[in-house]
Symmetry: C2
Subunit: 206 residues, 2 copies
DNA sequence: GGGCTTTTGTGAAAGATTTCACAAATCTAG
DNA sequence: CTAGATTTGTGAAATCTTTCACAAAAGCCC
C-alpha cells in the first residue's frame, strides 16, 4: 500500500466519528462539505483523503453514510478487536481501564500489571491487577497486540523491551520518554504536559 | 512574530525535556546532534527549529545546556505559572488533578467543578470539588487562563462557551468532540481513541 | 599564530501536504 | 429526453516542512 500521511489517517479517524454522529441523526448521505464543516477542515481535503483509498461517493449526491462508515472501519483496521495489556495500575491506568470508549471501538483490555503490592490483587471492571513479575507468563498464555505504558518514566523503556520480546506489536505510551523499539513495532507517545506547553506557546505569542 | 509551525513548537517542548535530562546528568553543553539522537530527529532539524528564534549556540562547541533551557522556557511562555480550572471530576479529571508533572511545569489547578452531587464537596490535593453551578461566580472571583474539559462529550460545548464568556483564553479538551470557539481562544483536543486507531491502522497496513 | 577539527546557522533543494479548479457523473424537474 | 443544479474525483499549483550542504565561527594544539 502506498504511503499515507499520518495527518490523513488521523482525519479518517475523525471522519469516522463524525459519520457515526450523522448516522445516529438518521442521515442517509453526507457531502464532503458537510463532513468538512463539522470536522473543521475543507471539502477538498476530505475528498483527497478518501481518494487515496478508492472512490466511495456518488457525484451530485455525496457519500452513503452507512457505506462510508463500513469502508473507514475497514481501512483503519477496526473490523476486529484488539487485545490490550495495561502496564501500570496508577491514576491514568485506572482511568483508561474503566473507559468504555475503548472497548466500544474494539480495544479490549485483557490484563493489568503493577509492581506495587498495594495494587496487586485489586479488581477493576472484573479484571485483577497482576504482579508485573508474571508479565512473561501471562502474556505468553494470553498474548496481546497492544500494550499501554502508564508507569513512571524511568520504568517505561525496560517494560517496553519486555513487551516487545513477548510479541507486542504496538505500544501506546503515556510516560514522558522517547521509547526505542525495533522497526516492526509501532509506538505512539501521548505527552500531556507537551499539549499544555503548546497552549502556553500560543497564549504567549499572539 | 513570524508564523511558526505547530510541529516546530512540539519539538521545542521535546528539546526542553531532553535538555533538562542532560542538565540533571551534569552536562554543560550539548550539540544539535546529541539532542537529535535522543529526540529521534535530525541535527539539521534541531538547528532549523532553534534558528527561527535566534542563534543560541557556539560554533564548534554546541549549546550551553543552562542557557538553552532558559531560552526555550521563555520562547514557550513557561516563565510564569498558569491558573487552570478542571471542568469534570471524573476518572480522567481526577488523574490530571493529582498529576505532579503539570504543577512542576507551571500549570496550577486552582478549581474543580462537577454536576454530580456525589462528587461535589470531595477534596483532592487540598482542592474541593465545586458545583458547576458556581462556575461563573468562582471564575469571576478567581480567574483562570486555561480550562481543561473532562466531562462527557455532550456537555463539552456548552461548558466551553461558559468558560470563554468568563475570559478563559485556552482550552485543553479530552471529550471526543470538535469544539467551536472564537478566534482569540486556543483549543487543543486530545482524543485518546484516535491515538489507538492510528495504531490500528499501522498494524493493519504493513 | 596557523592549521586542524568540530559544529553552528542558513540559503537552496527536495519532498510532503494542502488547496485550487474543473471535467465528469449523477440527480431533479419539467 | 434535455437543461440545470450538485457534488465527486483528481491533476496541477501553491504552500509548507524537512533535508542538504557548506561557509563561517570557535576551540584546540603545537
Ligand atoms: N496522571 C496524569 O494525569 C498524567 C498526565 C501525563 C502523564 N502522565 C504519565 O503517565 C504515567 C503514569 O502516571 P500516573 O499518574 O498514573 O502515575 P501513578 O504513580 O499513579 O501510577 C504509576 C503506576 O505504575 C506502577 N509501576 C511503577 N513501576 C512499575 C513497573 N516497573 N512495572 C509495573 N508497574 C509499575 C506504580 O506502582 C503505579 O501504580 C507517568 O509516566 C506520568 O508521567 C500522567
Ligand atoms: N477515562 C478515559 O480513559 C478517557 C479516555 C479518553 C477520553 N475520555 C473522555 O474524557 C471525558 C471524561 O471521561 P471520564 O472517563 O473522566 O468520565 P467520567 O464519567 O468518569 O467523568 C466525567 C465527569 O463529568 C461530570 N459532568 C457531567 N456533566 C457535567 C457538567 N455539565 N458540568 C460539570 N461536570 C459534568 C460527571 O459528573 C463526571 O464526574 C469524556 O468525554 C471521555 O469521553 C476519557
Amino acid at each position: 500500500m502506498r504511503k499515507i500521511a499520518e495527518s490523513t489517517v488521523r482525519r479518517l479517524s475523525l471522519y469516522l466519528r463524525l459519520l457515526e454522529e450523522f448516522e445516529e441523526q438518521g442521515a442517509e448521505t453526507v457531502s464532503s462539505e458537510a463532513l468538512a464543516s463539522r470536522g473543521g477542515t475543507t471539502s477538498a481535503q476530505v475528498r483527497k483523503d478518501l481518494s487515496f483509498f478508492g472512490s466511495f461517493g456518488k457525484r451530485g449526491l455525496g457519500y452513503s453514510v452507512g457505506e462510508l462508515v463500513r469502508r473507514l472501519r475497514e481501512i483503519l483496521g477496526l473490523g476486529r478487536t484488539y487485545r490490550v495489556a495495561m502496564i501500570g495500575a496508577g491514576k491514568i491506568g485506572s482511568a483508561l481501564v474503566q473507559y468504555r470508549g475503548f472497548r466500544q471501538r474494539g480495544f479490549e483490555v485483557v490484563s493489568i500489571f503493577d509492581v506495587d503490592p498495594a495494587k496487586i490483587g485489586r479488581s477493576w471492571n472484573g479484571l485483577t491487577v497482576q504482579s508485573v513479575v508474571s508479565l512473561e507468563g501471562e502474556l505468553r498464555a494470553h498474548p496481546v497486540e497492544i500494550a499501554v505504558i502508564v508507569t513512571p518514566a524511568d520504568a517505561a523503556q525496560a517494560l517496553t523491551g519486555r513487551c516487545v520480546a513477548l510479541g507486542v506489536k504496538a505500544i501506546l505510551n503515556f510516560a514522558p520518554v522517547q521509547l526505542t523499539v525495533p522497526d516492526e513495532v509501532v509506538v505512539k507517545t501521548v505527552n500531556l504536559a507537551l499539549e499544555l506547553e503548546t497552549l502556553s506557546y500560543a497564549l504567549t505569542n499572539r
